[in-house]
Amino acid sequence: MTATRKARLALADGTVFEGRAWGADGHTTGEVVFTTGMTGYQEVLTDPSYHGQIVTMTAPHIGNTGVNDADPESLDGKPHVAGYVVRDPSPIPSSWRSQQTLEAHLAEHGIVGIGGIDTRRLTRHLRDHGSQNGCIGTEEASDLVDRARAAPDMNGLDLVARVTPTSAYEFEESRGDWAVPFKPHDPPRAKRPRRHIAVLDFGVKRHILRCLVDAGCRITGLPASTPAKKILELEPDGVFLSNGPGDPAAVQYAVATIRDLLGKKPIFGICLGHQLLAQALGAKTHKLKFGHRGLNQPVKDLATGRIEITTQNHGFVVDVESISGQARTTHLHLNDGTSEGLEAPDAGAFSVQYHPEAAAGPHDSLYLFERFLDAVDESAGH
């Protein structure tokens, strides 16, 4: 282990945290954020929505179950975080599914980490002062602060361009042994006809695609910049807008595409997909102070009054007040009342800010995949 080497995490505001080098050698910069999930570190590491961010795990023990090749959320299995901050890296993995230690995995993929730091103080700092850029390295604190300050601002940054595929692809993997019903306590429904779904991939999580496959979809993944005309030429039964990293305002080309698709195909968006659909429907987005990242975020479904415990990972959010016209709010965050879901029934589109596919997180919202396929079926039936 290289864990005996001192390392630091410096924030752009000059705050410095001491720890020990872990993972790959070197230094790294990015927006420092925290996530409060107690499980699923491997999913976090590989979630493309974390691209370019230095992620802090508030759970103290990370790496306990090692790394396996089934849990990554990126399509290529590689990590996306710019840096990784934990309190207590596990020296050994203990799980029947483990194939590699976390530290070896980080080193292999060049992910610079830091262990042993007071992640609670860091989290409280980010909570009170907001997410900001930071730098992990073994250099002098002042150098690291300078590097953090020199890193590009998250606002207006098009990170999607870095994670979207360069060409179209097909995806056929299902959830396999880990599949659970989309609506657990409903009687099993008749098999649907197979539907073709075009996925605008802004950095899609693998588990979303698996869920779509299990819902009966044939999938064509497409680069973010694919124009509406080309999408329609594929004659999909529906269009899915994926999650992805960064500022939705920086992805105006996709907003234009979505606007062109509205009303032509059923649309379902998740996370960044929600923000882009909202913009296409005329709503605005802004950055939250420190975002929502975790597996315990309560969301209220306004139609049923029921609460879903959801997985979230977003720094930007749709202004609830700006949702108007043909769009209306369907879901709200129970804690701060921010936008969690909207629909534009006339346009056949709906989206949620949170992650119904979970991975990691609770399976309370899987029903949304069925809702999407219901809309697709209905649309195809006309």
Binding site: F34, T36, G37, M38, T39, G40, Q42, E43, T58, A59, P60, H61, N64, T65, N68, A70, D71, R87, D88, S90, P91, I92, P93, S94, S95, W96, R97, D118, T119, R120, R121, T123, R124, R127, W178, V180, P184, H185, G294, L295, N296, Q297, P298, K300, G305, R306, I307, I309, L334, N335, A358, A359, A360, G361, P362, H363, D364
Partner: protein, 1114 residues
């Protein structure tokens, strides 16, 4: 869906006395629930037989019944109170079972009482193992292969499919009573028979063994809108096979990937759905095969539980409070998370690690099987919070107060070669346990012997196994080898290995530099542990830390891993970089709690601590609570103004004192409410400059130091049994011969009579003195107290409050059992039922004089013995006693509150407190014993305390009150039948009286030869029965065949006790009321007479508020 308005009055059932498997956690949940319902404007009627609870405080709800928790009493209360609803989910298995009975008997429907919180169907499905298994199959969930048997034959059939080892689980028992692991066909039938007997429905589940699988538990909540949350996940370090109450557990789960965790969450949700728990908290237990991740559902409880209390303390999420509100109609999203002000509909996430470590009391039950299994045996637990697992684990180890200041090596304390020896087997029902003997001394072991012995020891689950595991790693076993031997997950073992490695680094380092010391503290090492490794003193380590600026900081338990600001100051220490304690500028007092429940120190002291908080709050003083027992009301963040969940050691407490003194005015620390635990810290705290409130450390010493105490008594010219102290066996012998046998021998500074015994001859004394010395090793003072033993004396307990100038009597209690039975085990009566006014007056005046002379400020308890109208002082304890809550409930006077106010400077005059008026009713306290959980243990009462809990019976006369108390401990007293009497010679006179009175009631008298002859001389007809040694058919045969309804059995000394062992044990197993002292037999006879000759037939129930009002002339 807001508050239900169709109900106004709600009946809440508590869980009764503290027993193994049901402890303070139900006082915590019941109190929380009752408070929540009262706040919502409901009228709450509460029933609990346990007077030591906060929930039975008369101020809490409108009507509080301290009455037996049986169907007849509950029916009478329902008839009298006419509640609209019954909430049975906060009072453990006791309340659920009662609710079922009340439903089945038609009482609920007759009086239109709605069951809220759980439906009859859900209770049945969850508790009846056959229905449960069926439900799991319907829900598509796997459970272990198994089958139900109602007979031994059926069980034999089933075990064909499950194979060995097989698990036995009797239906409808609490704490897994009667459960067993059967390794081979040889012991199968015997264990099945026992299990069938334990089950009220004579049914046992025979189950596939999943021993060695990992065990997890989810604490979940569901509301009527089908919203569902997981409050906490818990992982057992001890794998399947050890009852979860006896396992060391960790929150959150440490060794699951998210996929596996979500599989458990989905399963838990399906379980809730399938069982039909519409509202409230539940727990679901899972087993997971570490080889392939296969998940089995083991069981669920549709109610709050010990683990939900733990989950609440571990996360800050108040499950019982939320469950109570959900039961009356709210949904989760309508409730607020108190701690953050955000919604209660969320799943807590934590950024620290919580460890729960059970505490055992095997030393009090010689002959008990100390192996852990499916039947719970622990009597309490400590919880600790650390930033990492190992930090929390070490804190938990020192919170236990078993003389270990961390995960220390037991080499030297235990000889592993002896531990590895196979225990000898015996007939647990018929053969008395062997006389305890000091262990043989062996030559020092070699390294290879140690390793071989340790390896042999760790495979068996025992109370100290994790210490043995650490020693195995120290002895050079690898993580994989230990994993192979124990099935403890490698992740935990690796953490232990790192700790062992750190020990070596610390021991070998040239000096303790900042990095090394900080790293070591971050691994949870105490200063004393480090001092041992460095061969220096605790003060040296503390000084070094101060020099380097290494101090603990205090983080908040906030339910959300710092995502939101926490407004509740509920804290734990760690060696991080930022303190969140936000110490206030207020005037404040620190109250030290009692730590984990153990025999001799339990809920009574938590009651006192809580009352100290309530009293200081009334005076506008900020209260700071320190405790480490997750079951308690005192560790509810709602109880005190500020809460530190920390071990009660000098180091930990001192750090809190320094933190709290950094701002505002720390008036001082209260050590007299938490029992012996805080009291032991008093001198050291004072030495460190911490002010103690109330009675000074010097006064405490004066009461506890024999010589100083003797001088005090001589000065006051009070009598006491002749006494002396010895530090070795030879001195002890000389003293005993001088005083004259019998003598009472006990170690100093030990609570609950541990190591205490009555010796009748030299041989007894020699045998026991060695053991007593052993018992004292943990506390570091090997002084033996030898007292003259007053045979057949009456014991009296007095609780007083003094302000230093004036003392008042709180209550005088006469013990039912004679002196020689530990005061914590004997029944007692308030006011005294046979003492003369003159004797009582002398007792009261002596108690007051003692308080004034000692300079007691606060509470003091004195034990007296009365013989031939002479009054002797046995013992003085200048602190809260076990009887304070009982006295307070009996008299309506909150003694602990008065004491707390006095301790911060109020005078009794200012408070307007005088000697209380003598109640117009009689209250009887009776004790509850855990003997059924310890097969093979003698039930004979003696000077060593062994009861876990208490009940109170209250009535207008002593016999009726005693009858209620006996009913409350679960004995059903028939008014006719056959009474077996066998007594020692000195009791024969009284036994004849009892025989006559029982016969007049309609009993047939059965006796052994000697007793029968004595009874026949008084011309009372009496059947004769053989003693066991005289051959069949003998008395045990009669008991086993159901031919005996009451057993009266007194014995004297060694062999006679051993010979009659099987009588007591068989009576226990057959659940026949048995009495091992003559005074108890007389008392129960009187209460039977009171019942039979009573004019009104039905049981009279009255709330404590009514009793108190009547006493005060309202």
């Amino acid at each position: 869906m807001p508050r239900r308005d169709d109900i106004q009055k709600i009946l809440l059932i508590g869980s009764g006395p503290i027993v193994i498997g049901q402890a303070c956690e139900f006082d915590y949940s019941g109190t929380q629930g009752a408070k929540a319902l009262v706040e919502l404007g409901y009228e709450v009627v509460l029933v609990n037989s346990n007077p030591a609870t906060i929930m039975t405080d008369p101020e809490l709800v409108r009507r509080t019944y301290i009455e037996p928790l049986d169907h007849e009493t509950l029916a009478a209360i329902i008839e009298r109170e006419r509640p609209d609803a019954l909430l049975p989910t906060l009072g453990g298995q006791t309340a659920l079972n009662l609710a079922l009975e009340l439903h089945e008997s038609g009482v609920l429907s007759k009086f239109s009482v709605k069951l809220i919180g759980a439906s009859v169907d859900a209770i049945r499905k969850a508790e009846d193992r056959a229905l449960f298994k069926e439900a799991m199959t319907t829900a598509g969930l796997e459970s272990p292969r198994s089958g139900f048997a109602k007979s031994i034959e059926e069980a034999l059939e089933i075990v064909q499919h499950t194979g060995y080892p097989a698990i036995l689980r009797p239906s409808f028992t609490m704490g897994g009573a009667g459960g067993a692991v059967v390794d081979s066909p040889a012991e199968f039938e015997e264990k099945v028979a026992w299990a069938l007997q334990q089950s009220p429905t004579t049914e046992v589940l025979v189950e596939e063994s999943i021993i060695g699988w990992k065990e997890f538990e989810l604490e979940v909540i569901r509301d009527r809108a089908d919203n569902f949350i997981v409050v906490c996940s818990i992982e057992n370090i001890d794998p399947m096979g050890v009852h979860t109450g006896d396992s060391i557990t960790v929150a959150p789960a440490m060794t699951l990937t998210d996929r596996e965790f979500q599989r458990l969450r989905d399963a838990a949700r399906s379980v809730m759905h399938e069982i039909g728990v519409e509202t409230g908290g539940s727990n679901v237990q899972f087993a997971l095969n570490p080889a392939d991740g296969r998940v089995l559902v083991i069981e669920m409880n549709p109610r709050v539980s010990r683990s939900s209390a733990l989950a609440s303390k571990a996360t800050g999420y108040p499950i019982a409070k939320v469950a109570a509100k959900l039961a009356v109609g709210f949904t989760l999203d309508e409730l607020e998370n108190d701690i953050t002000g955000t919604s209660a509909a969320f799943e807590p996430t934590i950024d620290y690690v919580v460890v729960k470590w059970p505490r055992f009391a095997f030393e009090k039950f010689p002959g008990a099987d100390a192996r852990l299994g499916t039947q719970m045996k622990s009597v309490g637990e400590a919880m600790s919070i650390g930033r990492t697992f190992i930090e929390a684990l070490q804190k938990a180890a020192r919170s236990l107060e078993t003389g270990k200041d961390g995960l220390v090596s037991l080499h030297g304390r235990s000889d592993y070669r002896l531990l590895a020896a196979k225990p000898t087997t015996r007939d647990l029902v018929n053969e008395a346990p062997a006389e305890p003997r000091p262990p043989p001394t062996l030559p020092p072991p070699s390294q290879s012997e140690i390793r071989a012995a340790v390896e042999g020891v760790i495979g068996t689950a025992t109370a100290d196994r994790l210490f043995y595991v650490a020693d195995a790693l120290r002895a050079g076993m690898t993580v994989d080898e230990v994993n192979e031997a124990t099935a403890i997950d490698r992740w935990f073992l690796e953490q232990l290995r790192l700790m062992v490695e750190q020990e070596r680094t610390v021991a070998a380092a040239d000096e303790l530099d900042e990095e090394l010391l900080r790293d070591t503290k971050r691994l949870g090492f105490s200063d004393t542990q480090i001092a041992r490794l460095r061969r220096c003193t605790e003060e040296d380590v503390r000084a070094r830390r101060e020099e380097l600026g290494i101090r603990p900081v205090f983080a908040r338990v906030d339910t959300c891993a710092a995502e939101f600001v926490a407004r509740t100051p509920y804290m734990y220490s760690s060696y991080e970089s930022e303190s969140e304690s936000e110490v206030t500028a207020a005037k404040k007092v620190i109250i030290l709690g009692g730590g984990p429940n153990r025999i001799g120190q339990g809920i009574e002291f938590d009651y006192c601590c809580c009352h100290a908080v309530f009293a200081l709050r009334e005076l506008g003083i900020e209260t700071v609570m320190v405790n480490c027992n997750p079951e308690t009301v005192s560790t509810d963040y709602d109880t005190s103004d500020r809460l530190y969940f920390e071990p009660l050691t000098l180091e930990d407490v001192l750090a809190i004192c320094i933190e709290e003194a950094s701002k505002g005015e720390l008036l001082g620390v209260m050590v007299q409410f938490g029992g012996q635990t805080p009291l032991k810290l008093s001198a050291a705290l004072e030495k460190c400059g911490i002010k103690l409130l109330g009675t000074s450390a010097d006064a405490i010493d004066r009461a506890e130091d024999r010589e100083r105490f003797d001088a005090l008594l001589r000065k006051l010219e009070f009598e006491r049994p002749e006494a002396s102290t010895a530090t070795n066996v030879e001195d002890a012998l000389a003293i005993a011969r001088r005083i004259g046998y019998p003598v009472l021998v006990r170690p100093s500074y030990v609570l609950g009579g541990r190591g205490m015994m009555i010796c009748w001859h030299d041989e007894d004394l020699v045998a026991y003195a060695g053991l007593a010395m052993e018992a004292m090793r943990d506390v570091g003072s090997q002084v033996l107290l030898i007292d003259q033993f007053l045979t057949d004396a009456i014991e009296v307990d007095v609780d007083t409050v003094s302000d230093g100038k004036r003392a008042v009597i709180g209550g005088v209690m006469q013990h039912v059992e004679e002196a020689g039975v530990h005061s914590g085990d004997s029944a007692c009566v308030l006011p005294p039922h046979t003492l003369t006014a003159d004797v009582i007056a002398r007792i009261e005046s002596q108690a007051k004089a003692l308080a004034i002379e000692l300079g007691v400020v606060g509470l003091m308890n004195v034990q007296f013995a009365v013989k031939n109208d002479e009054v002797y002082i046995i013992e003085v304890n200048p602190r809260a006693s076990r009887t304070v809550p009982f006295v307070s409930k009996a008299t309506g006077r909150p003694l602990a509150k008065i004491a707390a106010k006095v301790m911060v400077g109020k005078t009794l005059d200012e408070l307007g407190v005088d000697d209380g008026s003598i109640p117009m009713h009689v209250a009887v306290k009776e004790s509850v014993f855990p003997f059924t959980k310890f097969p093979g243990v003698d039930t004979q009462l003696g000077p060593e305390m062994r009861s876990t809990g208490e009940v109170m019976g209250i009535a207008t006369t002593a016999p009726v009150a005693f009858g209620k108390a006996v009913a409350a401990i679960g004995f059903s007293l028939p008014t006719r039948g056959r009474a077996f009497i066998s007594v020692k010679d000195s009791d024969k006179g009284e036994a004849c009286q009892v025989a006559r009175r029982l016969r007049n009631l309609g009993y047939t008298i059965v006796a052994t030869r000697g007793t029968a002859e004595a009874i026949r001389l008084t011309r009372v007809p009496c059947e004769m029965v053989n003693k066991v040694q005289e051959g069949s058919p003998h008395v045990v045969d009669a008991i086993n065949s159901g031919a005996i309804q009451i057993v009266v059995n007194t014995t004297l000394g060694g062999q006679e006790i051993r010979d009659s062992y099987s009588i007591r044990r068989s009576a226990l197993l057959a659940n026949i009321p048995y009495f091992t002292t003559m005074p108890a037999a007389v008392a129960v006879t009187a209460s039977l007479e009171a019942r039979v000759y009573a004019t009104a037939g039905s049981r009279r129930v009255r709330s404590v508020q009514e009793w108190h009002a009547r006493m005060n002339g309202h």
